[in-house]
């Protein structure tokens, strides 16, 4: 077990290192090919005074000559960047000159809150629907569960959100406030936008909607793994041992079914990250997603890179966790 964990940890670090380097290299290439993003500081069009430009370049760590040589991997600035990251310095925004590290301190908790709700929604819905479909394998319920989840999955999350914001949210909020107090939970929960005064309440609905990403995939996984285990030889043995159906399900089916589900959730997490970009953009939640959304539209390269770096770290950590849970669940991996 110990050796497995260490090996997996080193692997994750290596992957993360390569990802960070590639992100850096892509950015360097972009500067080399497309010209200096520091120009944006001066509004793009005008040609600034060379002395001022040089100052701004220094400010954004773009003064290294490697940025003029196309194809140069710019290793030195990469190391400097890593050192800065390690020291908690993520640079400043071009627009408004704010400290990115400080912004992250606000953004990351918001996105995490969003993920709490969407992960719970996804796992609970998929487990319930998948188990239900497996029990009624091949019958009407099975087919309708499948059709519904595919339909939900076919509608892009940001479009559900747009529809919610423009069509459902306002009348629903009005209705809820007619019955309950504006300041109450119900008065806030359906709001069409995020309100920092209610950081948990106003994030529930977008969280639930974001949780529909990959619902069909996970439901399918749950259904398939339950079917496979229900028809397996060891369940037959359990029956032959005279165990009750309940015990067979809890002891011999659920744990075995958890393995593919844990993998599936880890895999879908990356998709939820991309869903968060648009969810937070549409709902005005100040999180990592909206930061990337805004950074793309304002062409703030550094912010895009920082955002993706964080997302990469999250994905690597999540897949590491998944593997560890996997090992905890399955002795065949633990004792390899």
């Amino acid at each position: 077990m110990g050796r497995y964990v260490i090996r997996r940890l080193l692997q994750a670090l290596l992957t993360l290192g390569i990802v960070l380097f590639l992100l850096h290299y892509l950015m360097a290439l972009s500067v080399q090919v497309r010209g200096n993003p520091a120009l944006l500081f001066f509004g793009g069009e005008r040609t600034p005074d060379p002395a001022m430009l040089a100052q701004v370049e220094r400010l954004y760590n773009l003064d290294n000559p490697c940025y003029e040589r196309t194809g140069d991997p710019c290793v030195r600035p990469f190391i400097e960047r890593l050192q800065n990251y390690a020291a908690g310095d993520f640079g400043t925004t071009l627009n408004g000159n704010r400290d990115v590290g400080e912004l992250l301190g606000v953004y990351i908790p918001n996105t995490l809150r969003l993920f709490v709700f969407s992960t719970i929604t996804l796992v609970v819905l998929a487990m319930v629907l998948g188990t239900w479909a497996a029990r009624h394998h091949g019958r009407v319920i099975d087919h309708s569960v499948r059709g519904t989840t595919i339909l939900i999955d076919s509608v892009p999350v940001f479009l559900i959100l747009l529809a919610y914001v423009y069509i459902v949210a306002v009348p629903l909020t009005r209705w809820a406030r007619g019955i309950w107090d504006t300041e109450s939970f119900m008065g806030q929960v359906f709001r069409p936008n995020y309100n920092p005064d209610y950081p948990w309440t106003t994030i529930i609905v977008p969280g639930i909607i974001l949780g529909s990403v990959g619902l069909a995939t996970l439901t399918r996984l749950v259904r398939a793994s339950q079917l496979e285990n229900l028809g397996s030889d060891f369940v037959k043995t359990a029956k032959a041992k005279g165990l009750k159906q309940m015990r067979i399900t809890v002891v011999h089916v659920v744990r075995n079914s958890m393995i593919p589900i844990v993998t599936g959730v880890g895999y879908l997490f990356a998709f939820m990250l991309s869903g968060a970009v648009l969810t937070e953009g549409v709902m005005g939640i100040p999180g990592m997603g909206r930061m990337i959304f805004g950074a793309v539209q304002r062409q703030e390269t550094n912010l895009v890179i920082v955002g993706l770096t964080i997302s990469a770290i999250v994905v690597v950590v999540v897949s590491l966790l998944v593997d560890l849970i996997y090992a905890a669940l399955d002795p065949r991996i633990r004792y390899e």
């Binding site: 060891f234 043995t237 359990a238 029956k239 032959a240 041992k241 005279g242 075995n256 002795p331 065949r332």
Partner: protein, 345 residues
């Protein structure tokens, strides 16, 4: 362990201890395959006495495994369903009992050993847990007691260092050791009937012999009834007392093992025997049964064996043969049972 030593309450209420241990009569099982009913077992009949070993022999697809699952009451439903017949344990028809009673019968009175121990054991639990589970569920033992019993059992089936091995997982055992774990699990509650479904097929030849010896030894010690399901007559030759040969879902010949080997009364059994390699026929070409086992979804009319039978006549393709007593205690489902028995055919 004799009948009187068994724990009180271990026998089923209403059981007649003078009745035969296990009687299977005209058992019928069907499977639904793509909306069609396919008969897997079409009237299996045999009797097992206490302390005796019955070999159920047949090719794959002959319905022998399904028969054992039907006795246990663990046929997958859907697609399978027991549609008729009786399974009597000490005179009590199990098929008429409610699920709760049947559940107590499993493990307590009838236990089963499957062919592939690797897939029949749950890969995520230690073997000690899986054996101990029986004591905890049926006897209400504590975790520690169950573990202690599991160690004893593992020791009894010849697993060295049982104390240590009890916490190991199925994938950490070799094939033969895994099958011993299965046997330990089946023996846990001291059942009266043990069904071994191809217990040695997945094993190496040397290990096969060890496992067969272990089964025989345990049966002698505990005076159990043993049903050995196999496709290989050679394996059971020196272990079994009686033989039931199955073909296309029915028992086509029933006799003692001596009689069966010496004077088979069904052409199929004869063909099976000729297909066993023997020392005294070295140099001669080994005979094979021509043709393929019939598809259970579309059985030939009359005697299901007639398309592959060398002795078949017109009658065989139209009339279903009855069970004929070719000799005392020797029955065969063939129109020419007596002729085959006396070697006139």
């Amino acid at each position: 362990m004799s009948e009187t030593l068994r724990v009180i309450g271990d026998t089923l209420p209403g059981a007649d201890l003078n009745a035969p241990l296990l009687e299977v009569e005209n058992l019928q099982v069907e499977f639904k395959v793509r909306g069609k009913s396919v008969p897997a077992v079409r009237g299996a009949t045999f009797t097992l006495e206490q302390g005796r070993t019955l070999a159920v022999v047949g090719e794959s697809g002959s319905g022998k495994s399904v028969t054992s699952q039907a006795i246990m009451g663990i046929v997958d439903d859907p697609p399978g369903r027991v549609t008729g017949g009786e399974v009597r344990l000490h005179g009590i028809d199990l098929l008429k009992q409610d699920e709760e009673t049947r559940r107590t019968v499993r493990g307590n009175h009838i236990a089963v050993i499957f062919q592939d121990a690797l897939s029949a054991l749950n890969p995520l639990w230690s073997v000690g847990f899986q054996i101990g589970e029986l004591f905890r569920v049926h006897r209400g033992s504590t975790r520690a007691e169950a573990k202690k019993r599991a160690i004893e059992l593992l020791d009894q089936v010849g697993i060295p260092d049982a104390k240590n091995r009890v916490g190991h997982y199925p994938h950490q055992f070799s094939g033969g050791m895994r099958q011993r774990v299965m046997i330990a699990m089946a023996l846990a509650l001291d059942p009266e009937v043990l069904i071994a479904d191809e217990p040695t097929t997945a094993l190496d030849v040397t290990v096969q012999a060890q496992i067969m010896r272990l089964l025989k030894q345990i049966q002698d010690e505990r005076h159990m009834g043993l049903i050995l399901i196999t496709h290989d007559l050679g394996v059971v030759a020196d272990v079994a007392d009686e033989v039931a040969v199955m073909y296309a879902g029915e028992v086509v010949e029933r006799a003692t093992i001596r009689d069966t080997f010496k004077q088979p009364a069904h052409p199929y059994t004869k063909a099976l025997l000729r297909a066993i390699p023997r020392v005294d026929t070295v140099g001669q070409e080994l005979e094979v049964i021509r043709g393929l086992p019939p598809n259970p979804a579309s059985l030939p009319g009359g005697c299901p064996f007639h398309p592959r039978c060398w002795a078949a006549e017109d009658k065989c393709s139209t009339e279903v043969p009855p069970m004929i007593e070719a000799a005392p205690e020797h029955r065969s489902r063939c129109h020419f049972a007596t002729e085959v028995y006396t070697n006139e055919r």
